[in-house]
Symmetry: C2
Subunit: 192 residues, 2 copies
């Protein structure tokens, strides 16, 4: 998606440790018009899939999920990061390793909001090692819903998550795949 | 806002301990069309204030903030709950007591995204004791921005947060103010 790549080149900041900061427009401050275009693009890419629900994980996926859901005319469900070991009520759960925070956490979705009648598109802002996405895919499978695919705004193509999911046959669409970044020059190369 | 009150009466669930569950349409599963109407209503209520930025706090405020920002044509900034005691970089910070989780946490916003040139509307899904809102108001004041007001979807009118903020002169608009709830009958009374 050219609009997103241009924006990443203009306002993204490359930091040491393979960090790409896009917090001026995507995940701290949010450019809502850009989200709207991202939502429309996911609609175009998954048009044929008869999606009934958009699934994401709190917090930074929620904005993208809301605009994608608006484009499809369906509800959002966002998975929650469980704060206690006591998971209350009837929920699907999976464990996700957070490399950013160096710990594993539980991700939950109420059984009321995901079931065999659903056709689910998972969306998120970033894909790197794929841990969060694998956790969400497990929730969808546990619920008996159909996984239509995954829509990602920015994939770090030099990390393994995206290509591993593609090998497994998941229909994964990333709107911008970063092939390499140079923290010294700020240069960002996208996969064509 | 009649649409929201009707929806709360239809799909809200009253639980013991003054809990109102609206997770089928507002803060776990999200009805995006309802959010869109909420956003338009906040636009109508704060039309004259020349709002330049919508501020909320992760995670459940983000959906409402995105749709409100779309109605105004301005960006969202969402405050983050800091996960470590080490707060990195140049941020505004305030402490918020979470009664739900029984602990205090730090809430942060980057100084890059809030400043004296901004006119800020704070939005959130719930207002009860007002701790989160007070924390966000402090961030706005610390940044030198103008606080235009606060837009809340559901206020628990039997808890003190809303009325305390009104006494302080904050322009607070709650779209549905619950005056009382009965967990035995499920009955919900709204303030007129």
């Amino acid at each position: 998606m050219q609009l997103l790549k241009d924006r990443i080149r203009k306002d993204g900041k490359v930091k040491d440790g393979n960090i790409l900061k896009v917090d001026s427009f995507l995940n701290h401050q949010i450019d809502v018009q850009l989200l709207e275009e991202i939502g429309k693009e996911f609609k175009r890419l998954f048009e044929a899939d008869h999606v009934t629900k958009i699934l994401t994980i709190e917090a930074s996926g929620i904005g993208i999920a809301v605009e994608t859901a608006r484009a499809f005319g369906v509800p959002v469900v966002f998975a929650k990061k469980a704060k206690t070991k006591n998971i209350a009520g009837d929920v699907y759960t999976s464990k996700v390793m957070s490399y950013t925070h160096g710990r594993e956490y539980d991700v939950i979705v109420s059984k009321d909001f995901l079931g065999p009648e659903d056709r689910v598109l998972i969306v998120d802002d970033f894909l790197a090692n794929g841990a969060a996405l694998e956790g969400l895919i497990k929730l969808v499978k546990d619920s008996g819903a159909v996984l239509c695919g995954c829509g990602i705004a920015i994939e770090k193509g030099f990390q393994p998550g995206g290509d591993e999911l593609r090998k497994k046959g998941v229909h994964l669409e990333s709107l911008a795949i970063v092939e390499s970044m140079n923290p010294a020059t700020g240069e960002i190369l996208f996969r064509e």
